[in-house]
């Protein structure tokens, strides 16, 4: 089924029926990692690759590397620290973000 979103221009502004956008979202285009004050430093020696941090991360910012261990996505991680909290082997430490 295809949608008729009624795209038209009103007073120079493009509008659609029911506030619909013809895209699958623009979240990926807006990097929000800059909001971060702390970042999750992962001790790769200790990480078992269990993926619990990935399950709990509210922003899908835990990424599995080729070695099977997890690290963070600097573009989107906001440093909430939930990964640190849920990690069963305590391999994540929140450290102050520095330039």
């Amino acid at each position: 089924m295809s949608a008729d979103i009624g795209r038209k221009t009103v007073q120079g502004v493009e509008v659609t029926t029911g506030c619909v956008l013809e895209s699958n979202g623009s979240t990926e285009n807006t990097k929000t990692g800059g909001w971060r004050a702390l970042w999750p430093k992962t001790d790769k020696e200790k990480c078992t690759g269990c993926g619990i941090c990935w399950v709990y991360c509210p922003d899908a910012s835990r990424i599995k590397g080729e070695d099977g261990k997890y690290d963070f996505d600097a573009d989107f991680c906001k440093g909430c620290g939930i990964c640190m909290d849920v990690c069963p082997v305590k391999c994540i430490e929140m450290v102050v973000e520095e330039k």
């Binding site: 089924m1 295809s2 659609t16 029911g18 506030c19 619909v20 956008l21 699958n24 623009s26």
Partner: protein
């Protein structure tokens, strides 16, 4: 098929024929009987709807919003505090132009807590962009629920709607109702075809994202134009209904549905304006008054949103006095309907005297004597501009 049934169950029957794909509801008095009966239909396998038992009215309307956004028909029903809890989502549903169907069984709002009837719940939601139609009888509740789907889902409208029915004084009352065959209803209300709200992974789209200051007003204006435009479609659907389903039971509904029903307004010098089941009481008093030679009539308002301002101005300017009887109040302003009617008449060349009568709040009986007194006060020009009829 004519049957004596509870008005709530008449609505359930209409919903059964519409067979919404998703029904989400949370029980609240006095709406409970509607969804209770519908849950029986689903449990008995009479309809194949997905019936969601949610944990609040906020969830019920959110579930309908989500379901409708995938491109299917959804339905819910509520009352009073439940409708108030839905408030935030009501704006989103209309803003996203999702034709969700809802029955509102009108009940007073707290405090003090009160489960009985007035119109404060739905009147307080008049600015949400939902279509609101008020019914007087069980038959109207049934008929209007069928029309509601056809109106809301019309490609020119694509807006949610509420059918507002008085709690207890109508919802729990047994009346004869003419129930139509499903095949005839299917012919009248086509299967829901989504327009813009289609979730298909192959054609990704986003519904209701952020509207910056540069876009917000244009979007709101589009929604307002859609609500304004729905007035003609409502009239069209009513005319179509009148033709296909003529009245089978005398006095169970207007012979011809329209935005308003005029009752004994011919030759009337003054008229009352009201909505909902109290119109039955008012009609009885008018019958007696007419016998005594008092030239009084009733203008029953069915379509409240969109507000038929032009039509009301044209009709009401013919009379010298108008008494608006309403079951809601805007503290600090007065009767909302009365003020809206006064606004509609401002542009008219002939302006009648308008009086506001606040009646039947929180289930207070509106007796024949109350209406007789209102007519008397109008006729003799006694009392204040706004009167509370206790």
């Amino acid at each position: 098929m004519k049957e004596v049934m509870e008005a709530s169950h008449a609505v359930s029957e209409a919903v059964k024929s519409l067979e919404p794909d998703v029904i989400a509801a949370y029980p609240i008095t006095p709406q409970t009987h509607i969804v209770e009966r519908i849950s029986d239909f689903v449990a008995n396998g009479e309809i194949k709807s997905e019936y969601m038992r949610v944990e609040s009215e906020f969830s019920a309307i959110s579930a309908c919003l989500g379901a409708q956004a995938t491109g299917v028909r959804s339905y819910t029903s509520t009352s009073s505090q439940g409708l108030a809890l839905m408030n935030e989502v009501l704006f989103i549903v209309s803003g996203m132009r999702l034709p969700v169907l809802m029955s509102v069984v009108n009940r007073a709002l707290s405090a003090p807590i009160n489960i009985w009837n007035d119109h404060q719940d739905s009147i307080s939601e008049r600015d949400t962009g939902w279509i609101q139609l008020y019914v007087e009888t069980a038959q109207e509740g049934y008929d209007m629920t069928l029309m509601q789907a056809k109106i809301s889902e019309d490609k020119r409208v694509m807006l949610p709607s509420m059918i507002c029915m008085d709690g207890f004084t109508l919802s729990h009352v047994y009346e004869p109702v003419n129930i139509v065959e499903k095949a005839e209803i299917d012919e009248f209300v086509p299967k829901y075809e989504p327009l813009h709200a289609v979730l298909d992974p192959k054609v990704p789209l986003t519904q209701g994202p952020i509207g910056f200051p540069s876009h917000y007003m244009e979007f709101r204006n589009e929604i307002c134009k859609a609500v304004d435009g729905s007035l003609d479609v409502i009239g069209e659907v009513m005319a179509d209904f009148n033709k296909k389903f003529p009245n089978q039971i005398p006095k169970s509904r207007p012979e011809e549905y329209f935005h308003i029903e005029e009752y004994k307004t011919e030759g009337a010098d003054m008229v009352l304006v009201a909505m909902g089941s109290v119109c039955g009481t008012i009609k009885d008093v008018i019958d007696e008054a007419r016998k005594k030679g008092v030239a009084v009539g009733l203008v029953k308002l069915i379509t409240y949103r969109p507000f038929p301002a032009k039509l009301l101005a044209e009709k009401l300017s013919k009379f010298s006095k108008v008494g608006v009887c309403e079951k809601a109040i805007s503290p600090g302003l007065g009767g909302p309907l009365c003020n809206e009617i006064a606004g509609a008449l401002y542009e008219a060349n002939e302006r009648p005297k308008i009086r506001s009568f606040i009646i039947g709040l929180g289930g207070r009986d509106v007796k024949l004597g109350h209406v007789e007194k209102i007519i008397d006060m109008l006729a003799k020009d006694i009392g204040n501009k706004e009167e509370w009829m206790y």
